[in-house]
């Protein structure tokens, strides 16, 4: 090496080569991690750990670690992963999270497209949550729906043999049941799911909307919203009791198993836990779609999906794993292990054997067509998440139930929404 320039050139080439060597070598990773919120259905998590991960390792030599976080803390964990750009390569997402973490998620359109073609196509409703600028950023495996959960024996005793089809009829049934000592219990406090799960659908079913499709024009101040608020106040006063105003997500489950309430809005976890721990109550528990309102019937969309994080060292390997996981052989068996808790968004599973053992879960499948994200018809966005995190719609209803005037609670909520959506 005769000159400094030569030395420099050799050094740069050498350093670059060393840096690229591991990638160019194309060695598959020895292991990858998937992070999930703990499932209410333990066999669902067990199936991954005991069946899927070992099967994939046997085929490819890649070990798949399955990390779980407690219910309700997945968003915090995901925020930490994304902000530190470290941790699991594959994450579970819910609600509109793919929009929140869009820049940190890998495009999985190719897998979504192939999976859709093979398995009867995707439900259109789910694309609101996972398709961003025409790119799929997450692959949904199933919805955790929020439906009406009720005691069939007490409804019958009150003379209600079929679950009411509209809100007014449900109110009438609730009056009878409360009089018989079996009030309703719908969460109006600051939980993370069981409150939004029925209050947004109630708002929509009366024609109320938080924001317009442009994501900027706040539409909440309307006669339709006022009608929904007025109904909610009557529904609360005539069928429930004060505690529901302070409930979080555990309370309605506890109250249902404590035989304190005859009807609530929840995921199918109540029946799942009932069958395991309270078999006598499970025998007289059933589900129904949310009631119809003057402007239709709605449900909450909460698609559970998998996304690949951009910090993954080998994104191709992560994609290969998801492609394998979303093959019918694996996905179908995993959904069966999930005991129909997750309603799949693929039409090939509309009549899947997973629905046969327990027909009481079928309404969760039927609800998919009418399920929307909170903030609908506005697009999924950070503002939508802020509105949910600030409980704007939940507190609007809760304040009305505690006695505040309809116009006041709407005005307060509108003020908050205008700030959140940066509306003029």
């Amino acid at each position: 090496m005769s000159t400094r320039r030569e030395f420099l050139t050799v050094s740069i080439v050498g350093a670059t080569g060393a840096a690229l060597a591991p990638r160019l070598a194309g060695a598959a990773p020895k292991s990858m991690s998937v992070v999930h919120e703990s499932s209410f259905i333990k066999p669902f998590d067990d199936f991954f750990v005991k069946q899927l991960a070992p099967a994939y390792e046997k085929q490819t030599g890649i070990k798949i670690n399955y990390e779980t976080v407690s219910v309700g803390s997945m968003l915090t964990r995901l925020t930490t992963i994304v902000e530190t750009k470290s941790g699991p390569e594959i994450t579970a997402t819910g609600l509109n999270w793919p929009w929140l973490f869009d820049p940190s998620l890998v495009d999985v359109t190719d897998i979504a497209s192939d999976t859709g073609k093979k398995l009867g196509g995707w439900y259109e409703t789910v694309t609101d949550a996972v398709v961003i600028n025409n790119k799929w950023k997450a692959l949904p495996w199933g919805n955790i729906g929020q439906l009406e959960v009720y005691r069939t024996d007490w409804f019958k005793e009150a003379g209600v043999t079929k679950f009411p089809d509209n809100w007014e009829d449900l109110l009438a049934a609730g009056r009878l049941l409360k009089k018989a000592g079996h009030p309703f219990g719908f969460e109006l406090g600051h939980g993370f799911g069981d409150n939004h799960g029925w209050l947004y659908p109630l708002l929509w079913s009366y024609g109320g909307r938080e924001v317009d499709k442009d994501g900027k024009t706040v539409l909440l101040d309307s006669s339709e919203t006022a009608a929904a608020v007025d109904f909610c106040r009557r529904f609360y006063k005539e069928t429930m009791f004060e505690d529901v105003l302070g409930w979080t997500d555990v309370n309605n489950n506890k109250a249902f198993f404590g035989e304190q309430i005859s009807c609530t809005n929840n995921a199918s976890s109540i029946l799942v836990v009932g069958k395991r721990d309270f078999p006598e109550i499970a025998k007289v528990t059933d589900h129904a779609l949310n009631p119809n309102g003057p402007k239709g019937r709605f449900h909450m969309l909460n698609p559970q999906s998998h996304a690949i994080l951009t910090h993954a060292q080998d994104q191709a390997a992560a994609k290969a794993f998801l492609r394998w996981l979303y093959d019918d052989k694996q996905l179908s068996a995993w959904l069966v292990a999930g005991d129909a808790y997750y309603a799949p968004f693929l039409h090939a599973y509309d009549n899947h054997p997973m629905w046969n053992p327990e027909p009481r879960y079928i309404p969760y499948k039927e609800s998919l067509k009418t399920s929307r994200l909170p903030g609908w018809p506005g697009p999924a966005s950070h503002a939508m998440s802020e509105s949910v995190a600030k409980y704007v719609v939940v507190d609007m209803f809760a304040k009305a139930c505690r006695g505040d005037a309809t116009k006041d609670v709407i005005a307060t909520a509108v003020g908050q929404l205008k700030q959140i959506y940066k509306a003029k």
Binding site: G189, H190, F241, V244, L245, T248, Q260, Y391
Partner: protein
């Protein structure tokens, strides 16, 4: 045998370095200082940096100056949160102070089983907050509440209170839990102060004809006052930034009736992904705490 001449201008050996008081002090301080820089100073300044940006999770920040604070000051919920935080802190601090002082005075007396009693009284402080708060959730539960059950079965009330559903009672509930958890901290710290008081002082006061009350006001209180002030300062800081009790028991509900700065900041930052706004909400606690610390420090120095 000739001895080697000492090195002049040579490198100092590690042993010599340790013998130099200035260097030794810095070596001893270094772990603590590094710890504080990593886990206190860095997050604190990063928090300030975040609060000056419109910074959404997974995205680059945009400098907005004090924009986040202005937005918060126009947010009705933020003012409700401020009122809640001050009310929660002031009431619990007074209750803990009185309860802790009473506990310390009793525990300072000689009686059978005193050590066992001291150990039991520490339990609320020892049990992890989240566990004890879950126990309190059951205590306040409408169906299973032991308080309601007792009141209803003794005929004191006809129907149970809605501890967590009623806005006022929900605030009372979180105050009760925080007070229950915080009293042992006051009690044990003040007990340590009480044990430094020489019995001769009490004997002298008694010989001068001082009553029990007079002995407390003129002997006990002046001596333990510095400890009382320090423990109150710590307690205010901890209570102001209390997260677990509120988050686990009410999550700020019903309708924000128990929402405090930290739970609101958490919801903004973590649930809404608005990291800049969340940091700003958390930092709004700072002025009140700084004023408090300055005031109490000045007072202590004067004393």
């Amino acid at each position: 045998m000739a001895r080697a001449a000492p090195e002049v201008g040579g490198r100092a050996s590690p042993r010599r370095l340790l013998e130099r008081e200035g260097a030794f002090s810095w070596i001893m301080l270094a772990p603590g200082v590094l710890f504080l820089i990593a886990f206190v100073a860095y997050p604190f300044f990063y928090g300030i940096y975040l609060s000056l940006q419109e910074r959404q999770v997974a995205k680059a920040g945009l400098f907005v100056g004090l924009g986040n604070f202005v937005t918060l000051f126009h947010d009705g919920v933020f003012w409700q949160v401020s009122r809640n935080t001050f009310l929660y802190t002031i009431v619990t601090t007074v209750l803990k102070l009185l309860g802790g002082l009473a506990m310390a005075l009793v525990m300072n007396q000689a009686f059978r089983g005193r050590n066992l009693a001291r150990a039991f009284l520490l339990l609320p402080f020892i049990v992890p907050t989240i566990l004890s708060t879950i126990a309190w959730m059951w205590i306040f539960d409408p169906t299973f509440s032991v308080i309601n059950w007792t009141l209803v079965h003794t005929g004191a009330i006809r129907t149970g209170f809605s501890w967590l559903g009623n806005a006022t009672l929900a605030m009372v509930a979180i105050i009760i839990v925080n007070t229950w958890r915080g009293i042992p901290f006051y009690g044990i710290t003040l007990l340590a102060g009480l044990q430094t008081i020489s019995p001769e002082l009490y004997e002298a006061a008694a010989m001068d004809g001082a009553s029990i009350n007079q002995r407390f006001w003129h002997v006990t209180l002046p001596i333990i006052k510095p400890i009382l002030i320090i423990v109150t300062m710590f307690s205010i800081i901890f209570t102001f930034a209390d997260f677990q009790i509120v988050y686990a028991l009410t999550h700020g509900g019903p309708a924000n009736a128990t929402q405090v700065y930290v739970t609101y900041a958490f919801d903004l930052g973590m649930s809404a992904g608005q990291l800049g706004m969340g940091a700003a909400a958390a930092l709004t606690m700072l002025p009140a705490l700084v004023l408090l610390i300055i005031g109490l420090t000045l007072y202590l120095r004067r004393e």
